[in-house]
């Protein structure tokens, strides 16, 4: 039996089980049915088992830790989120958060599937024990920033709910899901394109040449994504615009604290991630900092969260301001993690070294 085929099937099963489980968790949030919760947890656990098996198979067939390309790294990220959530749910009453966490895990694994590539040997530049140290620490920090983002977003929603400003609750959801839908549509659209490879006769550099139909796919994809996102956002916003929903969300203080702790615990990890990257770069290229786009964007993210900590700890900012910063922070993280790999070239772009 072909290991790679099995792995692919297991991964598809994982994505589907996360999707169904996410839907059940949302159903649980609305109805509070304990049976739904049991079913959702069971499915999520089965999904995690399939996911673990897929990752192990990938490790065996490629011969290195699954961190070498976007598919592997996103898959691992989704795996970490589900694992952490199941552990947290075992010990703390955080079941309701599953309505956000599990769909997020579904989203991440499905994006991973978009970038699916077969197992490949590591390019020479990545053959170092620093790979897994650097990647694991960076991923952990991203996960914590995502947590801070979630808490920050619900802080803003909760504040509007308490003020009975339902219009802004609706706007918050529409803005969030609309943006998400647009970006995902853009990705899906550009994934469907099939650009011609053109070589510059002077510099010998290969670049993509897009035809009109490709642009149509990109624009069409983003419009479809935007419409779906706006629709979902509208539905979620309408559903949340009830006085009762405020009681289901944690209190403002708790949301503020969770958001702060996510960033406070993620920041040292991001710092260590950047520095282990610098030490690795020094070993490989003899330059610990070369202003490559990924490095620069991680620095930008780091400066941003550093600013957050300073405004909070020494200037006393709190509540809404901090929540907004936590929300914007995740945009920086996403640009660092995904945007740079996809849109800017550099040492981290995961393109096969020529």
């Amino acid at each position: 039996m072909d290991l790679v085929k099995v792995e692919e099937i297991l991964f598809i099963a994982t994505v589907i089980s996360y999707l169904v489980s996410g839907a059940i968790y949302i159903w649980f949030l609305i109805t509070r049915s304990q049976q739904a919760l049991k079913l959702g947890t069971m499915l999520l656990f089965l999904g995690l088992l399939a996911h673990t098996a897929a990752l192990i198979l990938r490790w065996v067939s490629s011969g290195h830790a699954p961190m070498a390309n976007l598919y592997e790294s996103l898959s691992l990220f989704g795996w970490g989120i589900v694992l952490f959530f199941l552990i947290a749910q075992r010990f703390y009453p955080v079941q309701a958060a599953g309505a956000i966490v599990v769909p997020t895990a579904f989203l991440i694994t499905s994006i991973a599937f978009i970038f699916y590539t077969g197992p490949e040997p590591l390019v020479p530049a990545l053959q170092s024990y620093w790979l897994w140290i650097h990647v694991t620490i960076a991923m952990l920090s991203y996960g914590l920033f995502a947590l801070a983002f979630g808490a920050g977003f619900f802080y803003i929603v909760q504040e509007y709910l308490l003020k009975k400003n339902y219009r802004n609750v609706l706007y918050s959801f529409v803005l969030l899901l609309g943006t998400l839908g647009f970006v995902l549509g853009l990705w899906a659209g550009s994934w469907l394109t099939d650009p011609a490879k053109v070589m510059d006769p002077l510099t010998q550099e290969v670049s993509n040449q897009y035809a009109a139909s490709d642009y149509l796919k990109i624009i069409g994809g983003s419009i479809v994504g935007l419409v779906i996102g706006l629709g979902l956002g509208f539905a979620a916003g309408k559903g949340a615009s009830k006085a009762g929903f405020a009681k289901r969300l944690p209190s403002l203080d708790v949301l503020d604290e969770v958001s702060y702790r996510g960033i406070a615990f993620g920041f040292p990890l991001l710092t260590i991630g950047i520095i282990t990257g610098a030490i690795w770069a020094d070993q490989a290229w003899g330059t610990w900092w070369s202003w490559d786009p990924k490095e620069t964007w991680s620095l930008i993210t780091w400066l941003f969260y550093g600013g957050y900590l300073h405004t909070r700890l020494t200037m006393g900012w709190r509540g809404r301001h901090s929540a907004i910063i936590a929300v914007i922070g995740l945009i920086m993280v996403l640009i660092t993690y995904l945007g740079v790999n996809l849109f800017l070239s550099g040492l981290h772009s995961y393109t096969p070294a020529g």
Binding site: D2, T203, D253, F267, T271, I279, Q283, L303, G307, L313
Partner: protein
């Protein structure tokens, strides 16, 4: 570094005082300094751009630029020290660096400009003249980094005495009002003398470290090195900065082309490097069970360093495993970082065979940078994961038991901890109704 302490008021008072007086002679002296710096800056810049720029003086010039600006600012009534001590400046500079870095990733930098479409753009001349295409090395960008460094240094000097005292000799005997005004505080009426030893015992039970004064008042602490760790974290950037300046000014980076089986001189040294064999190992790229192609998996070069035909070191280098050589012993190497490293950079094929491209690197500031790295990682982890929590316990003037707590991070968690302690205390003292 928290500024909520009542003790910090004195620091602000100092900060608000003028750095320079306003008398005419002071102004004259300042003006003379300013003009001297300006002339020095101009002469050095002129000499630098006229010369063939063998030594990189950018860092020095940027430093002079900043001093000139600060002197001007001061001469015309600006309070330099006040400015450099402010946290607002720090946050603003972080934000400015952030925006500039974003611009730097959008516009192509350095060698990448030539292959981009930018040289044909009408704005190219303007952008290029202000250094937007080589921003990270431009004088004004370095000057901003210097300003950030000064800001950081002043803030560290300002906070250091308070932080040190807080860690080593904290005040245990405080006034009643201080304990009452703590962000988390509790009063247990009429139980002062009886409650004090019980409170001490309970708090020790929660793994707080207890210090008692002669009057019986006590301070219970956790993570008292947090503040110093934060200073260590901030200080590390100055070390890394100094290391980067030393490397940027005195260090170098050279490409050496060594054909297979030949040798080449190592620039800036009297060494020669021989490339005994360059090898590329490949691994098959599979699509299902089918091999669709091969991809390089290892590049390695068997190198030998020689001095006057005498072999010094031989090593097979790969991309992540360079050859490092130092002529002195390891201790001296550690201090002045006189190590030269040869990295596997790339290769090309000539008509006689493969040619390895090595990158020779000399980084004299490396030790400082690495010390800085470890201080950054240790400092931030310690500072955030072990927050400084303090609880003062004392008997108040009218015989009540006073408890007051402060934490420099995650106040909600500390509050819960504090409430648990107080609840336990009330339970032990038989006063549960108050909770």
């Amino acid at each position: 570094m928290s500024s909520e302490e009542p003790e910090a008021i004195t620091d602000t008072a100092i900060a608000n005082k003028d750095f320079y007086g306003k008398s005419a002679s002071d102004f004259l002296i300042l003006l003379i300094i300013t003009v001297t710096m300006l002339v020095l800056d101009a002469v050095l810049s002129f000499a630098y751009y006229r010369s063939n720029q063998t030594t990189d003086l950018r860092w020095l010039l940027a430093f002079l630029d900043l001093t000139v600006i600060l002197c001007f600012y001061s001469a015309f009534g600006g309070r330099v020290k006040h400015m450099l001590l402010s946290m607002k400046l720090a946050v603003t500079l972080l934000f400015v660096t952030l925006i500039l870095s974003v611009i730097g990733t959008i516009l192509p930098q350095g060698e990448l400009v030539a292959t981009s479409g930018w040289p044909r753009n009408p704005l190219y001349g303007l952008y290029s003249s202000i250094g937007l295409f080589d921003m990270y090395r431009s004088r004004w960008f370095l000057a901003i980094l210097y300003l950030l460094g000064f800001n950081l240094g002043f803030c560290i000097i300002d906070r250091f005495p308070t932080t040190l005292r807080r860690a080593l000799r904290p005040r245990i005997d405080v006034k009643d009002i201080f304990v009452r005004k703590c962000p988390t505080a509790a009063t247990i009426e009429g139980e002062g003398e009886r409650g004090l030893p019980v409170a001490k015992e309970i708090i020790s039970g929660h793994r707080y470290h207890l210090r008692t004064s002669d009057s019986g008042a006590a301070l219970a602490q956790k993570g008292r090195w947090s503040g110093l760790a934060s200073i260590c974290f901030h200080l590390s950037f100055l070390l890394i900065g100094v290391g980067a300046i030393i490397t940027g000014t005195l260090g170098y980076k050279e490409k050496i082309d060594v054909p297979d089986g030949k040798s080449a001189p190592v620039p800036h040294t009297d060494l020669r490097v021989t490339n005994h064999e360059f090898t590329i190992e490949t691994a098959p790229v599979m699509e299902g069970d089918r091999i669709v192609g091969y991809r390089p998996s290892v590049y390695s070069s068997d190198l030998e360093l020689t001095q006057d035909d005498q072999s010094l070191e031989r090593k097979t280098i790969t991309v992540n495993d360079p050859l490092r050589y130092s002529s002195s012993n390891w201790l001296l190497t550690l201090i002045i970082s006189n190590k030269v490293s040869l990295h596997q950079s790339s290769y090309y094929q000539s008509n006689t065979g493969y040619v390895t491209v090595l990158e020779e690197r000399y980084q004299p500031g490396k030790s400082l940078i690495y010390i800085g790295f470890f201080m950054t990682m240790g400092g931030i982890s310690f500072s955030i994961y072990c927050p400084h929590r303090r609880i003062w316990i004392k008997v108040g003037e009218s015989g009540e038991l006073l408890l007051g707590g402060r934490s420099n991070r995650s106040k909600v968690t500390f509050q819960k901890d504090f409430e648990r302690i107080v609840a336990e205390l009330r339970l032990t003292l038989g006063k549960q109704e108050a909770t």
